[in-house]
């Protein structure tokens, strides 16, 4: 197809050069008419019709269901709720990062509870809207392992530009091992990390954020069970470092305007650091 496009491009430019540089005087009328008929009507109709047929034949394949793994993604304001539904094995809930195996057709079920978002991983496929009250399907197949960036491609509010996610494409065995590990219990926090966990609970973070294995079951905000393993924080708002976590909790609204999470400027720095260390340890 690239060769075909190159040929068409060369012919068009060749004709343009010929008309402006080589033969600049007027053609006879019947020659001009014939050129317009063959070059301007017949040629594009034939080429575009062929491409349309070819394209339509590809469509059913795009609509084919995936090969096993299904991932539910909901567009929240302004983050991504992600739920893995493997054919065998328990469901895994996470947020703001998607992992998928290479060379497998993975089916995404896309929804939104509030406003329209659009799910777009430019390297892997086209964008698909996430529309309240509907479930849109998208099947993607990654050809190469690596980390790709996904974004929200439909303006959804003040922090639309801060609503991104990483897509980590892994070799199949590594992915299976990763998914199985997600369902395994987290190690119990000890020492300073236990203090961070207690502060996390005492300040009510668990009302919105779930962390597996402790009394934090909130579903309003992103699940933080494996937060420490994520590359970014706040759906791509900042790199995931302890310093940035402290900043995000203390001045959430400044980092991410109009975000649902309240800021906690009144929490002592010491407590914020302890909470950040605890969250960073959740891998």
């Amino acid at each position: 197809m690239l060769i075909g496009a190159g040929v068409v491009w060369t012919i068009v430019l060749g004709v343009a050069v010929y008309a402006t540089r080589v033969k600049t005087d007027a053609h006879e009328e019947h020659v001009g008419k014939r050129l317009i008929f063959w070059g301007g009507v017949v040629f594009p109709v034939v080429v575009l019709a062929a491409l349309l047929v070819y394209g339509l034949r590809l469509m059913p394949e795009l609509r084919q269901p995936g090969e096993g793994l299904r991932i539910d993604v909901a567009g929240e304001q302004f983050w991504w709720r992600v739920r893995y539904r493997p054919q065998n094995g328990p469901e895994v809930v996470t947020a703001n990062e998607i992992r998928m195996p290479v060379g497998e057709r993975v089916e995404f079920a896309l929804t939104s509870p509030h406003v329209i978002h659009a799910f777009w991983i430019p390297t892997l496929g086209g964008k698909v809207d996430m529309i309240p009250g509907r479930e849109n399907r998208l099947v993607l197949e990654a050809e190469k392992p690596g980390t790709y960036r996904g974004v929200c491609a439909e303006f959804c509010g003040a922090s639309h530009a801060l609503m991104a996610f990483d897509v980590v494409v892994m070799e199949k065995p590594a992915f299976d091992a990763w998914l199985a590990a997600q369902a395994a219990p987290l190690p119990t926090a000890t020492g300073d990390l236990a203090r961070g966990r207690d502060l996390f609970l005492q300040n009510g973070c668990g009302a919105c954020h779930a962390v597996a294995g402790i009394e934090a079951r909130g579903e309003v905000g992103p699940n933080l069970s494996r937060f420490g393993a994520r590359k970014t924080l706040g759906a791509g708002a900042l790199p995931n470092t302890a310093e940035n976590v402290v900043r995000f909790i203390a001045e959430t609204d400044k980092v991410k305007p109009r975000v649902t999470m309240p800021s906690y400027p009144a929490l002592p720095r010491d407590d914020l650091t302890a909470i950040a260390a605890y969250l960073g340890s959740l891998k």
């Binding site: 005492q202 009510g204 009302a207 079951r217 579903e219 309003v220 309240p262 400027p265």
Partner: protein, 385 residues
């Protein structure tokens, strides 16, 4: 000039002459003001015609600006009247007097003098009273309500009291405004002269608070006043401090807290935190039909509206919580509802202590049904942390 002499008065008004005349009038007015000859002293009363004109304008204005005011249907509620009365004693009675309590002689030499409410209240419609109490009156001593934009509910409590004021006996007034205290408690004014008395709040400061909240922190008159007995000391201090500087909005609590030093606020917080939590004797019973729904919201939150589980911050829970978060167990449902509704506007309409940002983000998304259910649930719990 010859035309003038020949034909009597014949001054032609030209634009130039009209302009000059206007400038002359303004200049004369400024010269009069500059000279200081006008006597603004209150000791010289208004001329009758001025007095009539000012009142005529004021009455017309109040009538016009109270168009569209919706009168709530709970103005006969004893709790509402008691709340208004408690504030009236400190905020209004010093100028307007109260049943059995003569007005200060100071008010006789005010111009205009504050009206005798026994006679005046019946001449106004309810919505007009609301407009006057909420906005005050320019060119008189009548102030607007502190936090008039945020706390219309408090304005209505004073209006409810005013409606009952004409003909009220001194004893009725005492019960409504003083609770178990005496008139000497009003404003805690004696205390200021006496200075600190050591540990605990000063006797007269406590007495002033106790007019409404009781010395035991359980309030009175049903659900007129929130239960503060046994509340977390951190929360009480944060709330009082926020009231004092106007960060938590209340035309009743802000004046009360603002006249006290922080040391007294801390002593009051400690005093009330140490009172045993209990259910006030005449507290209304929460609607049992709502309790179960409220419990579910408090435990699990509501995903659809983004309402987090209340109990993660407010309990009840076995594990420790941030002491700056108030306990809600056994609190009056009406108080909780009012507070949650104050947050309905997304701006900081309720205000509060340093952690208010959390509830501002949470409460404005709650539906009225969720608010009623959650309030009933917490009211149904046994009091205490």
């Amino acid at each position: 000039m010859s035309g003038f002499l020949n034909r009597g008065v014949d001054i032609r008004v030209t634009p130039k002459r009209a302009g000059l005349a206007g400038i002359a009038v303004v200049a004369a007015g400024l010269a009069f003001g500059w000279s200081g000859l006008f006597n603004i002293s209150a000791s010289t009363k208004h001329w009758p015609v001025t007095d009539w004109f000012l009142h005529w304008v004021m009455i017309n204005s109040v009538e016009t600006w109270s168009i569209g005011v919706e009168v709530p249907d709970n103005l006969d509620d004893r709790a509402l009247i008691a709340r208004g009365a408690g504030h009236y004693a400190t905020g209004c009675a010093s100028c307007h007097g109260a049943p059995g309590r003569p007005r200060s002689p100071l008010t006789d030499v005010m111009s205009p003098p504050p009206p005798d409410l026994d006679a005046k209240v019946p001449t106004w419609e309810t919505a007009q009273l609301f407009t006057i109490v909420k906005h005050g009156v320019k060119f008189s001593g009548m102030p607007a309500w502190v936090s008039f934009d945020e706390r219309e509910d408090e304005v209505w409590s004073v209006v409810a009291f005013l409606k009952k004021l004409p003909g009220m006996t001194p004893d009725e007034y005492k019960a409504l405004a003083m609770g178990a205290e005496t008139d000497g408690a009003v404003g805690g004014l004696v205390a200021i002269a006496h200075g600190p008395q050591g540990r605990g709040p000063r006797e007269d400061v406590l007495a002033d608070c106790a007019r409404c909240h009781g010395r035991d922190g359980l309030g009175r008159d049903g659900d007129a006043f929130p239960v503060i007995a046994g509340q977390s000391e951190d929360y009480l201090f944060d709330a009082l401090s926020a009231y004092a500087v106007g960060k938590r909005h209340s035309g009743i609590m802000q004046p009360a807290a603002a006249r006290l030093p922080y040391s007294e606020l801390a002593a009051l917080a400690e005093h009330y935190a140490n009172q045993p939590a209990a259910r006030p004797k005449d507290a209304p019973t929460p609607d049992p039909a709502l309790v179960a729904a409220g419990e579910k919201i408090a435990r699990d939150g509501v995903r659809a509206t983004g309402t987090p589980a209340c109990q993660s911050c407010h309990g009840p829970s076995a594990s420790a919580r941030n002491p700056a978060y108030p306990s809600l167990n056994g609190q009056h449902a009406s108080y909780l509802e009012t507070q949650l509704h104050l947050w309905e506007k997304e701006h900081d309409s309720r205000g509060g202590g340093p952690f208010r940002e959390i509830m501002r983000k949470v409460a404005f998304r709650m539906t009225p049904e969720e608010i009623r259910a959650v309030a009933a649930y917490y009211a149904s719990l046994p009091p205490g942390k």
